[in-house]
Symmetry: C2
Subunit: 146 residues, 2 copies
DNA sequence: CTGAAAGTTTAGCATTGGCTAAACCTATTG
DNA sequence: CAATAGGTTTAGCCAATGCTAAACTTTCAG
């Protein structure tokens, strides 16, 4: 590899990073929704819009509107006044989110952070960690456990 | 249903977490801007809108519009066709962002992640780590170095 | 089986953050 | 010192995400 005495690509990498963050943001909400819906289905057998609203801390109407977009995106299905279902793709996204979430949260706990903080921070961080970083976190956990 | 022996506050904490993430998002852009402006001033002596646009990977017009908001928020000052300055508050925010950024990036590197990934991921993560997590990261770094 | 309470959706609005194209300054050069 | 090239701003558009209030369904008690 290159013998970089000093990070020549730093400036270019930045706009790449920022672009990725903006892209992440659009999918972030979708991921939060499907992950939450999956949890609700597992926990209570069904996911209702108002449960989602409550847990996300957002108005009911907002959820309705967002679900419409998610339906267009092929992640969920829903009929008016009924509960919400995930499509195959929706489940896939939910599972992936849960996987990341678990790793990040466990990692933060292993780092010595409190449960409360681990829960809160992992929610924010999970959408911004690359697979490489996840692997590093998993490695750290494995080492710790041994 | 099952008697949840653990984490009674988990559900409530979630909406707290999501609320915080939404709040983070509004300040995130502002932090990125002021941090970048600070870097530009340090690097080249002045920050021009077009430099900001280039590094963030957005259109010039977008920067103009955002700077107007930042000016209203008391973070920057600018006159038309001139370069951008940070207010005292702007500098404070920039310094804080840099501090977080440095810790997160160094931490990721110490975890064994590549430079490229550390740069990209830290940009996304820095806005979502609490002070507690930052402290844990700093602790980890200190231990590593010894 | 009916009517009101509870739960959902629609309507309409605001803000943020993006874009392109056109208008507008500034500054350089001939 | 004027013309123009190039950088900046304005205008006007769009999509996403949030809200409240009003309209509409469902459900359940009586």
């Amino acid at each position: 590899m290159p013998q970089r005495t000093k990070k020549p690509g730093a400036a270019k990498t930045r706009s790449v990073a920022f672009r990725r963050i903006r892209a992440d943001h659009s999918s972030e909400l979708a991921e939060d929704y499907v992950e939450l819906i999956a949890d609700l289905i597992d926990e209570k057998g069904e996911a209702r819009g108002s449960d989602v609203a409550m847990r996300l801390g957002v108005a009911n109407a907002t959820v309705v509107k967002t679900l419409k977009r998610l339906q267009d995106a092929g992640l969920v299905t829903q009929e008016p006044y009924r509960s919400i279902f995930l499509t195959g793709e929706g489940w896939k996204m939910a599972e992936d989110g849960r996987r990341k979430h678990k790793i990040v949260e466990a990692f933060l706990l292993a780092l010595g952070v409190s449960e409360e903080t681990a829960r809160i921070d992992s929610e924010g961080i999970e959408h911004h960690v690359s697979e490489e970083t996840l692997r590093a976190m998993a490695r750290f956990l494995a080492r710790k456990v041994m």
